[in-house]
Amino acid sequence: MRECDVCKIIENKDSFNLIYEDSICIAIIHEIPAVKGHVILFPKEHYPIFEEVPKKVINHIFKITNKISTAIFDSMSCQGTNIIINNGITAGQELPHFIINIIPRFENDNINFEWTPNKKSDSELDITQTIIKQALNAKKEIEQKKEITNSEPEPIHIQNKQPNKVFIDQMTTRMHRIP
């Protein structure tokens, strides 16, 4: 079977502090939390990175994220919540399984997710905008081509992987290298 610590959590879910489960996803209390009430939510199927998660699972899991976030807000009497998806090794993703962190926030909790703004000039922003838009349009074209060649509707079953893309493969192999 797969060497994934998160998949192992699902196999031994009873030994963890389970808070929510359905056929697609599962949520537990983080064992080493940022703060009390830190919840992690993840799909049961093994998807190493955000980009690999199919639309059906995305649609479902973020509704659940919102509900869990609300539940944490109500039950932990916190002043806010953060939802964080660290995606990729450089982003600090530690396990090769797509995970959503839901962290209750209190005033003076010594957690700092703030960033120092790197103020950019208008022309710098323009360049970035152009690059991203180009990439977005390129992606659209690829998708349209796929739609033409792939006239069959995508099966709903969650085990179906999204079409392989070279760089997704590269990222995936990188993720698998994590001990």
Binding site: S23, F62, T90, N118
Partner: protein, 233 residues
């Protein structure tokens, strides 16, 4: 009525003064990346890193719990595409999707938004602290949150189990269909042999029951499941 009016007034006032609603209306210029009928993505003018995108619902919701389910699903589908675009367009190795709900969480404007931030190695952002806490504390958190979740979803433990069994049956049905179209003649012969072998069949039937109760096992043991599913067919 008067209370309703005041909350509506407050909401209207908030909307009127909301910078992001003005960006959406085009009153304030922005570096738009993507737009559809539900949402708008623009570059953050105070980016954490190059390519930092904010994704906004066009409707004014000041916190995430107020956003309807359909909008949430749509927004995160777009967020996923934008994250992919950042990885590809800026040749990044990672992104962070970040949401702040409430001022204590770092929310700065009363308009719900999703940050999609390209990540560089050792940029020191979004380090989630790790604190070792006692098992009792974990249990307390679990009890509190789970209780609230069950209330929110209108769940009772038993009905949840029943739901799981139903869902599993559905999963099995779809699997039967899939395997039917995929299996080769060799596999068919093999399965026929299996069916003829009574002992094997009984064993597999015994395995079937725990699998329905424990869906993880079922999902992990694909080979076994396929065999069982085909026996049903």
């Amino acid at each position: 009525m008067s209370e309703n009016n005041t909350t509506q007034d407050v909401a209207a006032m908030q909307k009127e003064n909301c910078i992001f609603c003005k960006i959406i209306d085009g009153e304030i210029p922005s570096k738009k990346i993507f737009e559809d009928e539900l949402c708008l993505a623009t570059l953050d003018i105070n980016p954490a890193s190059e390519g930092h995108i904010i994704l906004l619902p066009k409707e004014h919701y000041h916190i995430m719990p107020l956003v309807p389910d359909e909008t949430i699903s749509h927004l995160f589908n777009i967020a996923q595409k934008l994250s992919l675009t950042l990885l590809r367009g800026l040749s990044m190795q990672g992104t962070t999707t970040f949401i702040a709900n409430g001022a204590a969480a770092g929310q700065k404007a009363p308009h719900f938004m999703i940050h999609i931030i390209p990540r560089l190695e050792n940029d020191g952002l979004f380090k989630i602290p790790k604190n070792h806490i006692s098992k009792e504390d974990l249990l307390i958190s679990q009890k509190k949150i789970k209780g609230r979740i069950n209330l929110l979803f209108g769940l009772k433990e038993k009905s949840e189990n029943q739901k799981k069994i139903d869902e599993n049956n559905d999963v099995q049905k779809t699997k039967i269909k899939e395997t039917d179209s995929e299996k080769t003649n060799d596999e068919l012969n093999e399965l026929n042999n299996l069916i003829n072998d009574k002992e094997e069949k009984n064993e597999l039937n015994k395995e079937k029951k725990p699998n329905i109760e424990n869906e993880n096992k079922e999902e992990k043991k694909n080979a076994n499941l396929d065999d069982i599913a085909n026996l049903f067919g």
